[in-house]
Amino acid sequence: MILDARGGFPNLEGRYHCCIIGSGPAGITLALKLADAGRRVLLLEAGDREVTTESQDLYEGLILGHDYFPLSAPRLRALGGTSGHWGGQCMLLDHFDFLPRRDVPLSGWPIRYADLEPYQAEAAQILQTGSFRSQNRKPADNTGTIDIVDQRFSSDRPFYDMENNDPVRFGIKYLAFLKGSRQVDLVLNANVVGFNVDDTTGRIVGVRVHTYDGQRGNVTADCFVLAMGALENSRMLLHLNREQGDRFGNQNDMVGRCFMEHLTIHNNVYFITKRLYSHSSTWEFERLFRRAIPELLLSPSHKQMLKNGWTNTVVRLGRLNREPLEIDDIPASDFIDKLKFNEDYFFTGRSSIVGEQQPNLASRILLTEEKDRFGLRVVGLDLQLKPNDIETLRSSTIEVAKFLIRTGLGRMQMEPALWDLETTEHLPLDFFSHHMGGARMSLSSDTGVVDADCKVHGSKNLYVAGSGVFATGGHANPTFTIVQLALRLADHLIGNAA
């Protein structure tokens, strides 16, 4: 059933097993599975069915560190959350993303790839990718330095094509379910502004809700799940801990820390030699490039990452065109004359490097002194990068260039500022709007905020869903993992956990 808090918070009757705060991919996935198991769910959405100015404006925040998008731009505060404008690319984290790495401080999850693997098929169904059938990676040649990332769903796509496919918009796709469900009550325009805590037991007994027209409400449930996106989850936890003496995951000042993004630099053109005949060693790659929709992904191998202390990166090679190199791509007029090959003979395409940011305590989500219309402190983002983050982008690009040279496949451009290892302010860095960390998963409160079941350290019944719990981010787009984690959390709440 869908209710609306506009005009007054509705009178909710009966007992809810779970109150989920936020109706994005994590919140709706959780609601679907809990409802399927017969649990009664209250789903609170701060926005309306579609984006409204008064809701979206509450996503404004302050940029305190590295230059970044305005904080209301990369996320949507409405039914379906940020899935309302996502590109739809679905990828899985690598097996080794979950493991500790000697040169990456705070790396290693308390769960493994195998803990999420049972949820692949269900996640694929929810995200409509078709089933996942692939081996993730395979060596690109016999040197063991470069892998082809070969993630393929039964739709015969390596991942969603942003141009040719229509990603799942959770607010639209699952609207009929939410309308018709007898297990799920969705309340729109319900802004959670705080928690009620039983001081004796430490249990969260309720949440306080404000409406846009000044009405107030209280909600009770057996357990509560923050599914508001990484920035808002940390913001709400920071507010809770200010009231409650840092006993909810912030025993060691970890709430909001280790915020991570996927870094990218566009390296512009690459080319592949034209004569790709079946008798040539490059024929196999021609086949791969032709199948690569929309991109062919080449990534330094796990062995190479560990040897060099790099994080997980991937060079994305866009589809090849038959056009020769454009003159603008050859800055010096006599440059090509000095080379042994000719610019007229090649396929060309565009490439970019996407890299994992190391967990970094200094990169964090904060509360500022400014307050919003409900009296809550406005969020601040102090995004900080480490020199190793940039070095990894540079070295991984060169590693892929070496592969192209070694095999005779082609050559590629590189952003000059990256070659020169300019300071981050002078690099043309871009970000994917993938907000990870801030409520990271860890064995104890020393290094994180939630445990392996996504329960907030020190809490009895407060959980976090979404990419805020990521301990590390790999290079994969996070939504598929977000859905896997939400399904696993649902199993835990139902009591089905392995």
Binding site: A332, K340, K402, I405, G410, Q413
Partner: protein, 35 residues
């Protein structure tokens, strides 16, 4: 005139250099004089 090679030769041990925005191999450059 030097004939330009295509497909590219394989280079077993690349020596990557950065030239005019390109990651090339040191052997990519013509060292002989043009006739």
């Amino acid at each position: 005139m030097i004939s330009k090679n295509n497909p590219l030769d394989k280079v077993l041990e690349p020596n990557v250099i950065f030239a005019d925005g390109w990651l090339l191999d040191a052997s990519d450059f013509i060292t002989e004089k043009r006739k």
